[in-house]
């Protein structure tokens, strides 16, 4: 069915938005087949974003953990994370569709920054919703967005984090749907967003496939990616979906897998969530017995979200992907380990995937690819604060 992954996905949005969503579906269908569009996007991907990113054989790590470990270096993408793959694509789409204003939501600030970068480069006005709590935690990214000419709008409602920023962006869209493009940052939201974001992020997996075939003459045994909404996961997984490759989506185990009536101490929606409707899609979400959405938690702001992409819910349910989770402390350990042993400071988000491999290397086969979704510069201050014993 249109816009569904099994029974997941869909378009649970106010009627006001439906025409815009239909327009987006049409626009996307049209331009993704347009040579000029594709050529322009490829140009920006290469020259502006710095693609292709290397697939790096981490020798010392491989030796230490008894498997050949490759890192897909999305940390080297302009802006510091895979996020730009998607924002370049969608911002260009918005431009082709004649939209003059782009709104976005952001958690860690990475998607907001990537949107601001794409907007600045293409000359489109950008406004970014961000929970005021996240603005506190990720001040540096707020400065970056502002430098890039974007307006950052603090969101004071709810838990003041990503979920609420999305609510607020949707409210803005409802109010300004005629001239505004809503640029969603992960494979969440109503159809066609999960599909669009997946397609733009699939460049990660396409490159990985070519690269691993070139240097290893075979496909990897396992691919491991951290999962918030799931865009970097699906981005690297998708081109391997039909192959005999194990795929691992690793969520934030947070402080613990416990929850209360209002709060989950983690963000493991695939592992621990239940079916429901959030932000326009049917998917696995963290909710209480009545269906109220729980505040999620993770040391990694970019994973701190109560939902997950509907396509991952489906793939997990049919057993095509495996889900796992890694707690805050283990992610932090991996963050240190990769920094010290490899000279690469990973994003705290990506550190979840790294940690999973370090802990389960034996079960993942001989040839493992980790999607290093971003760099950890944005997290250095947080980690330093943790070390001083302050609260994050």
């Amino acid at each position: 069915m249109k816009g569904k992954f099994g029974r997941y996905g869909g378009q649970f949005v106010p009627e006001i938005l439906m025409p815009a969503i239909e327009e987006l579906i049409e626009g996307y269908e049209r331009y993704k087949a347009d040579q000029k569009f594709t050529k322009e996007l490829n140009f920006y991907s290469r020259e502006f974003a710095g693609r292709p990113t290397p697939l790096y054989h981490a020798k010392r790590l491989s030796e230490a953990y008894g498997a050949k470990i490759y890192l897909k270096r999305e940390d080297l993408v302009h802006g510091g994370a895979h996020k730009l793959n998607n924002t370049l694509g969608q911002a260009l789409l918005a431009k082709y569709m004649g939209k003059e204003r782009i709104i976005a939501e952001t958690g860690a600030g990475q998607h907001g920054t990537a949107t601001a970068m794409a907007g600045a480069m293409l000359g489109i006005k950008i406004e970014v919703y961000m929970g005021s709590k996240d603005m506190e935690r990720q001040r540096m990214n707020v400065y970056r967005m502002e430098l890039l000419g974007a307006k950052v709008i603090p969101v004071e409602s709810g838990s003041k984090t990503l979920k609420d920023a999305i609510n607020e962006a949707l409210r803005d869209w409802v109010s300004n749907v005629e001239d505004t493009y809503y640029l969603i940052g992960s494979i969440v939201g109503p159809h066609p967003y999960p599909e669009i974001v997946r397609d733009f992020q699939s460049v990660i997996g396409k490159e990985t496939k070519e690269q691993i075939l070139k240097c290893e003459k075979r496909l990897p045994d396992s691919i491991v990616a951290c999962t918030g909404g799931g865009s970097n996961s699906i981005g690297i997984f998708y081109p391997f979906i039909e192959d005999d490759v194990k795929l691992f989506a690793i969520e934030a185990g947070g402080e613990s897998l416990k929850k209360t009536d209002k709060v989950a101490y983690h963000s493991a929606s695939l592992c621990q969530g239940e079916e429901g409707i959030l932000h326009g899609a049917r998917t696995k979400i963290l909710q209480n017995e009545y269906g109220q959405i729980l505040e999620s938690h993770s040391i990694a702001a970019g994973l701190d979200y109560s939902g997950v992409g509907p396509e991952l819910s489906h793939l997990s349910e049919i057993g095509r992907i495996n889900s796992g989770n890694i707690c805050d402390n283990d992610a932090l350990e991996a963050f240190y380990e990769l920094s010290r042993k490899k000279g690469i400071i990973p994003a705290l988000e990506s550190s979840h995937a790294v940690s999973y491999v370090l802990k389960h290397a034996k079960e993942l086969g001989d040839l493992i690819v980790i999607n290093l979704s971003g760099r950890g510069d944005k997290d250095v201050e947080i980690v330093a604060r943790l070390n001083r014993g302050d609260k994050a």
Binding site: P14, E22, V174, E274
Partner: protein, 264 residues
């Protein structure tokens, strides 16, 4: 029940006043008195919100009501208990987001509505495309599923919606979320005109807060107005005898519904 109410009012030459409040705001104990105060003032129907944590179609005022209600311990179970205990003559509607319905089980939710004398369900994040399961259950139990029509809604979408519409059509008077505005958008008239040949009653909501708005909307041909934020604001302020203020506002709005109809 809903359409009957509309046709009775039409005969009397009145527009319908549909008043919205959020159940459990400011506390579950007060909901009954609040609903009664609205009806006393002249509300022809009451739309009672079942609060959801992430109300994407609501503006700050109704978000505030939802926060207060959830903090005061509101749950769907309690909601149906409170509504069942109401003893009112006017039709009641529930307004909530789809996840609460989905989580309760669509079937159970609709049958709970039926048992509690709720005769209409309003779900702002459920467009016609996703409404199949809820619609069929509603049909089975004779509960109206209320659909939205927005200024952006295309003619083909209107056509589709009309296939399932019953009770009334919820006309969104302007782009945006709930919340009171200073004037009535010009798009409202346009929208009502586009739907002039439609049989199902049409009620206009989003941004209506004053007698003059009601008057103007009813005069343009709508069958009713839906007013929420203006009432919720009174509850939020809670100055003096706020229940009397609710009654007072309902009375004024109802006057607008009557005079507007007269001026058609």
């Amino acid at each position: 029940m809903i359409e009957k109410t509309f046709s009775k009012l039409k005969k009397k030459g009145e527009g319908a006043l549909i008043a919205y409040v959020c159940a459990g705001d400011p506390t579950p104990d007060e909901t009954k008195d609040i609903v009664n105060a609205l009806i006393k003032g002249g509300a022809d129907m009451v739309e009672i919100g079942l609060p959801f944590s992430d109300p994407i179609a609501d503006g700050p005022v109704i978000q505030g009501a939802i926060d207060r209600s959830l903090r005061a311990g509101m749950t769907p179970d309690l909601y149906f208990k409170i509504i069942s205990d109401l003893d009112v003559k006017v039709p009641l509607l529930v307004m909530t987001y789809y996840n609460l319905i989905f989580k309760r089980g669509v079937k159970k939710f609709v049958s709970d509505c039926k048992k509690s004398n709720i005769c209409g369900i309003i779900v702002p994040d459920l467009p016609i495309e996703e409404s199949k399961e809820l619609f069929s259950n509603c049909k089975k139990h004779g509960v109206d599923l209320i659909f939205f029509i927005a200024p952006t809604t295309t003619d083909p979408r209107i056509k589709n919606t009309l296939k399932q519409a019953s009770g009334f059509l919820y006309l969104v008077s302007r782009l945006g979320v709930t919340g009171q505005r200073d004037d009535v958008s010009s798009s409202t008239g346009t929208l009502i005109n586009r739907l002039s040949s439609v049989k199902v009653p049409k009620a206009v909501g989003f941004g209506i807060s004053k007698k003059e708005h009601a008057e103007q909307v009813i005069k343009s041909g709508a069958d009713g107005v839906i007013v929420g934020s203006a009432f919720v604001n009174i509850i939020a302020k809670k100055e003096g005898n706020f229940k009397e203020q609710l009654t007072q506002l309902a009375t004024e709005l109802k006057e607008g519904c009557i005079s507007g109809y007269r001026d058609r």
